[in-house]
């Protein structure tokens, strides 16, 4: 198996009584888009951070790709990209500088031509090269996300980790981002691991889903295998109806929350 191999990953927040991750194992294969799904607070973002070594957990994570091999932690960073969930903050920084920062491991005081060319190339592919000299504060939410993605791809990662890349985007931008990430993953043969909250998007774009519940993998496999009425009821506590689209992709129709009370608003 090649890709991101996660074995028996455990993590407990400092001062927390219960562990958040209680032994998670799965593999995000090279050339595949793997989506982590699960209810809020189940530990999806935390897991990405533990996998990347930004939080100290137990268990093993192996980046089993030829580019990384047994490189040390520092040298690995040249091949691993991570897009955080947080939005780019208001700043006077220009788009070009923000994109260049994606290659921070190789940047020197005087930016090398190779870094500049790579940044232009990435912005061109994402069609944001006309924004290069704009300050971040002048960009719309959708544009900011594209800049973040350019920053994530500019180093040509072989391991691509993204935390909710489509949060707060409208439908068109959401589709655009996921099409782009999927195409990148398949063409460049990256091991891509994304957290996604929209199950229909996950079902449509991911090659493989990992459904988390109570700090463990509840179900894993193709969207057809994971997106079932029973799995969703158990993991999310909701009732859904699922039917198949003409291309066999499961489409999910949310019906009601099982924890729903009978609401009585006294007037």
């Amino acid at each position: 198996m090649s890709g991101i191999v996660v074995e028996n990953l455990q993590y407990t927040y400092p001062h927390a009584k219960q562990p958040t991750l209680k032994g998670v194992s799965f593999t995000a294969e090279t050339g595949e888009l793997t989506a982590l799904i699960g209810a809020n607070a189940v530990g999806k973002s935390t897991m990405l951070k533990v996998i990347l070594g930004l939080r100290q957990g137990q268990g093993t994570v192996t980046f089993s790709v030829p580019e990384i091999g047994d490189l040390n932690k520092e040298a690995r960073l040249k091949h691993i990209s991570y897009m955080t969930q947080s939005e780019l903050t208001e700043s006077e920084l220009r788009v070009m500088d923000v994109v260049l920062l994606g290659r921070i491991q190789t940047l020197s005081l005087k930016v090398a031509d190779e870094d500049l060319e790579k940044a232009w190339e990435t912005m061109r592919v994402l069609r944001i090269d006309n924004l290069a000299t704009r300050p971040v504060r002048a960009l719309s939410g959708g544009q900011r996300r594209m800049v973040s993605i350019a920053q994530t791809l500019v180093k040509d990662p072989t391991i691509l980790v993204m935390d909710e890349p489509t949060a707060n985007l409208d439908m068109q931008h959401e589709l655009e981002v996921l099409q782009l990430v999927r195409a990148y993953t398949h063409q460049r043969k990256t091991a891509s691991l994304l957290t996604l909250h929209d199950l229909n998007m996950a079902s449509r774009f991911a090659d493989k889903l990992v459904l988390l519940k109570d700090g463990k993998v509840f179900a894993t496999g193709t969207p057809g295998e994971v997106i079932t009425e029973e799995n969703i009821r158990n993991a999310y506590g909701v009732e859904v109806s699922i039917h198949l689209a003409h291309d066999g992709i499961p489409i999910l129709n949310p019906l009601r929350s099982l924890t729903e009370q009978n609401y009585h608003f006294a007037l």
Binding site: T89, E92, L93, L109, N130, T133
Partner: protein, 351 residues
């Protein structure tokens, strides 16, 4: 269709040209400021209480042996080291302020507003009361300003308090040290009090070559170390979490920054007393001139600090010919309008 892509291509090459052009402009800004500092340095050496003609000053500078003993002392022991010290201290305060503002994400952070100047003042007044002399007051003020930096750092690390809260903490510490200094003054003799008051004005007049060498040495060592991390500081502009995501080790970076910044700030205030607003105004001007790309922002802020203090040094001698006003008073009087400008700008920017 073709037309559209041609238009886009044109737009893109325009964007490239604009980007590279903008970077070139920033180098020009640096060059212009450097010239400004140099001109200011010359004027600073030319002016002073002793009414020397420019010819006398220049001949003493280039041919020290040919000058009279009095002129030699005025130029080589007083004016030149003081004028150079204004630049060194300006560099130290300007760069320290810029890095503080970056790592604390707050445009109001500076060696003065974080209470570092006040701590140095307290250290110096303790030394004066204990009769430790000039060296003693420099050492004690250095120790106190370094320790307040470390205290601020520890508070920043221990809890996740925001840059804003931290600046408030700094201001609280400023009041604390001012009160402690007042307490020391309360028990001090009249002569000691005079010395303390003079020290707390902030003044370059006690400069000698050794002090100049120490301050500029620290600047010369710290600044390259800071510049080496300039891309990492730029990453911090995106927020600590984003920077961490890019692979920057935010904790160690900030630790390193704090040590260097403390050294810079302490090396400035320990010899000259509390000079306010250079560390606030320098970075502010730099941000307006070259934006927040730290490769340019930090050096420009450094040179702005030098220019401001050097110009202030000239003004301090021109207000009343024959008399030199303490430079700390001058910088604060220049500084307050800047402070208002920052607040007004922040409000407009917040819209």
């Amino acid at each position: 269709m073709n037309q559209i892509s041609e238009q886009t291509a044109e737009k893109v090459s325009q964007a490239r040209a604009t980007y590279l052009g903008a970077n070139k402009k920033k180098y020009i800004v640096i060059a212009v400021l450097a010239v400004l500092v140099f001109v200011s340095l010359i004027i600073d050496v030319l002016t002073g209480a002793a009414m020397l003609t420019p010819q006398e000053v220049l001949s003493t500078l280039f041919n020290p042996g040919g000058a009279s003993a009095g002129t030699y002392v005025i130029i080589w022991q007083m004016r030149l080291p003081i004028a150079l010290m204004a630049i060194a201290v300006g560099c130290a305060l300007g760069s320290a302020g810029s890095v503080m503002q970056t790592i604390l994400h707050n445009p109001l952070a500076s060696p003065y507003t974080l209470g570092i100047g006040a701590a140095a003042g307290f250290g110096a007044s303790l030394a004066i009361v204990m009769g430790l002399g000039n060296t003693g007051s420099a050492v004690l003020s250095f120790v106190f300003s370094m320790s307040i930096c470390m205290l601020i750092w520890a508070m920043n690390r221990k809890s996740d308090i925001s840059g804003g809260t931290l600046v408030l903490t700094g201001i609280a510490l400023l009041f604390l040290f001012q009160a402690l200094q007042a307490l020391v003054q309360y028990g001090a003799s009249e002569t000691q009090n005079q010395n303390i008051v003079f020290w707390s004005f902030g003044s370059l007049q006690k400069t000698d070559w050794i002090k100049l060498a120490i301050t500029s040495g620290i600047v010369a060592v710290c600044l390259p170390l800071i510049m080496r991390d300039s891309w990492k500081y730029t990453a911090l502009m995106l927020g600590d979490e984003k920077a961490e995501g890019l692979g920057v080790k935010v904790g160690p970076l900030k630790m390193r920054a704090f040590v260097l910044v403390s050294l810079l700030a302490a090396s400035a205030v320990c010899f000259t007393g509390s000079i306010g607003f250079i560390g606030l105004a320098g970075p502010h001007i730099a941000r307006t001139l070259v934006g927040e790309d730290q490769r340019f922002y930090i050096p420009v802020s450094t040179i702005c600090g030098a220019a401001l203090l050097s110009i202030a040094s000239i003004i301090s001698k021109l207000i009343r010919p024959g008399l030199i006003f303490p430079i700390g008073i001058i910088t604060s009087i220049i500084g307050v309008p800047f402070f208002f400008a920052i607040v007004a700008r922040a409000r407009r920017g917040g819209k």
